[in-house]
Symmetry: C2
Subunit: 406 residues, 2 copies
């Protein structure tokens, strides 16, 4: 007998039949003796329709009113799922963010959860009722509805799990777990039984779209055990847990990649103090996120080259910003290359094992893959390569770190 | 400078373009120096889609959860209209029922408004802001969302007008006012400049679908001046007001009709006390509304005939109920006829003028139209006729009471 939060994403509640299937799953888990709360997303496609109506009304619009419209998607699903549960004999009631309440700050359209009252939900659960909670939405102190940004329902689920001290938060989705790498590219990719919060966080922010980054942060901060699993079968998924729970740690747990990058190079930049501050200050002002940065030491100490990556969609805007500071910075040339990919190896085992990066460089080098930029953190090494080599790089690294399925 | 509530129905906010047109109208009225609050329905078709999803999930369902789903339709419209208003420079914000709050009883799916706080809305209006309020929805004392039943947005608009002591409540719809009779049938029908609450109430409950009955009751009880007008042109509409405001009263203001009736006759019923109580008691238990009732005096005081009308959709169920009490009541035959229409003449002038009913019977008689059942109230006379004569009856009566347009 465990206390569980079950979260169903958009495809898992995509139409009335899927909603009824989700209800059956909730019933099975509850009949097995568990106490259950459910968090749901909008029916797949619903949020896109609502977004379109808002954009068609006014391209630039009040995010407070956007939230009023966008939050209706989840409201529809909770009503329908509560009805489907009642229809098969499971006591259930729907809960909107403002009814619980799920308090957020007032950063509308990308609000952060401040606090969730768990006592009311727990009282209802103790009476055998299944709370069906709208993901993605909350309410400000002033009583206005907020949304948490795309993928926010994962964050709601983890936050609810923390608030009611659940034993686990099960995220039902259209994939059956977290893989060592993208199984569509590497046939020998393996589903992981367990992964640490830190690794999952790196995987999520490096392009693996299984869980929203913020939900992993919240799970880590509140030590909520999360399971990612498929709503289309009954196979066990991947547990995202604390490092202590994993006895046999792999040195490298997974290999992530992203094709959303563009590389920008400033050539022949005068090598004097303050230049980097000017360049990256202007980009920050324009709300452009810079990821990997490399500055080569110049041979004669007069000029240097600066290379960095931005999101591919920000690339044109970044070039415009840089042209506008050309005279102030005094660089000679400005190059950009969108045909790059970032490939990262991730594993908490790196902390205690030397030579992880070296093995990566060797594996790529042996295949003739040139490394353009390198960046490292405590538990990951990322390299920028020509995007044409992405698949080859993934397969090579997957083998090099012994991750291939038998 | 007046304080106005403007209500836009489903077709008036049917898509993004219509919503923008509604916003332009609000702006014009506000620019003319008025202080304005807006009440809106769901985009036309939206409520039907939500209803269908609920029914597909479970034909018999918790009305509390139905309300959670159904109330999203209006929530979408308030967000979009607030955005459209802001986009053309009109300060606006959306209000859901629970935010105001619009307190209702807990008769979910057909709740009644108990109380509306007007002070918060007024404070926002005094700062020049246009409140955009979701019609059709409210909240119970326990904090659950309710809906008011079909057409409930009219009721919301009138209740908001009462709460903020508005000078008038303008109901924008797809017709341009209240007519002396259905202009699709009688070419000479005239738009009325004014009509009394009592007459409007009879018109609404007798089949004229311009305003929801409950909204008229509420307007009458709170003496809210209501105007019905078109959102597709700028013509003045029809004012629904207190009798005192109408100087030149017509004897008859309008002629309504309904084809939703079915006539049921019990023949050779033993003429003894308690028979009517048994018959109509059983129908009431089955939640079947009985409208016109006639019991003919029997010639030999042993048997009588009882004739009454029910809604056509209730007709089969009524016959089943009556068959089940056949032995207890002891009638000989049970007849039903769905091919009937109810035609009514309505006017507060009847109170002070004799001969109104007589003129009706004469006009119908001269055209050879047989009257099957008669029922009267202080300000209306209704007759049941063969439905084939509906159009002829309407045209004859329209002329007979001098209502024809010049």
């Amino acid at each position: 007998m465990a206390r569980l939060v079950l979260k169903f994403g958009g495809t898992s509640v995509g139409d009335v039949d899927r909603i009824k299937a989700a209800a059956q799953r909730v019933k099975r888990i509850r009949d097995a003796g568990n106490s259950v709360a459910v968090v749901v997303s909008a029916m797949s496609g619903a949020t896109n329709q609502l977004d379109k109506w808002v954009r068609d009304t006014a391209r630039i619009h009040d995010p407070r009113e956007y939230d009023v419209v966008a939050s209706t998607g989840e409201q529809v699903t909770i009503g329908l799922l509560a009805i489907a549960l009642q229809d098969i004999g499971v006591p259930a009631r729907s809960w909107m963010g403002w009814q619980i309440p799920v308090r957020t700050n007032d950063a509308h359209a990308s609000a952060r959860i401040l606090d969730i009252r768990g006592d009311t939900l727990l009282r209802h659960m103790e009476q055998g009722e299944v709370p069906v909670i709208a993901g993605f939405q909350g309410v400000t102190q002033a009583g206005r509805v907020t949304t948490l940004g795309r993928g926010g329902s994962d964050t709601t689920a983890v936050a609810i799990a923390a608030a009611i001290k659940a034993d686990r938060c099960d995220i039902y989705t259209d994939v059956d777990g977290v893989y060592t790498t993208d199984p569509r590219i590497v046939a020998k990719a393996r589903k992981l039984d367990k992964i640490t919060y830190e690794e999952m966080l790196e995987m999520a922010s490096l392009g693996a779209k299984v869980l929203q980054t913020r939900s992993v942060e919240m799970a880590m901060n509140h030590r909520v055990r999360v399971q990612v699993l498929s709503s289309f079968n009954d196979a066990p998924g991947t547990l995202v847990v604390d490092e202590d729970e994993i006895v046999e740690k792999e040195i490298v747990s997974g290999i992530a990649y992203s094709r959303d990058e563009a590389k920008i190079t400033l050539r022949k930049v005068p090598d004097r103090p303050g230049v980097a501050a000017t360049v990256f200050g202007k980009l920050a002002e324009a709300d452009i996120n810079v990821d990997m940065i490399v500055q080569n030491t110049s041979q004669d100490s007069t000029y240097t080259d600066i290379t960095f990556t931005v999101k591919r969609t920000d690339s044109d805007r970044a070039l415009m910003v840089l042209q506008s500071v050309k005279s102030a910075v005094g660089f000679a040339e400005l190059d950009s290359d969108p045909r790059v990919a970032k490939v990262s190896v991730i594993g908490v085992g790196m902390r205690s094992h030397a030579g992880v990066a070296q093995r990566m460089f060797a594996a790529l080098g042996s295949r003739g893959i040139n490394i353009q930029v390198i960046s490292t953190s405590e538990i990951k090494v990322s390299v920028l390569i020509d995007e044409e080599y992405t698949e080859l790089a993934l397969r090579s690294l997957h083998s090099a770190y012994g991750l291939d399925a038998a």
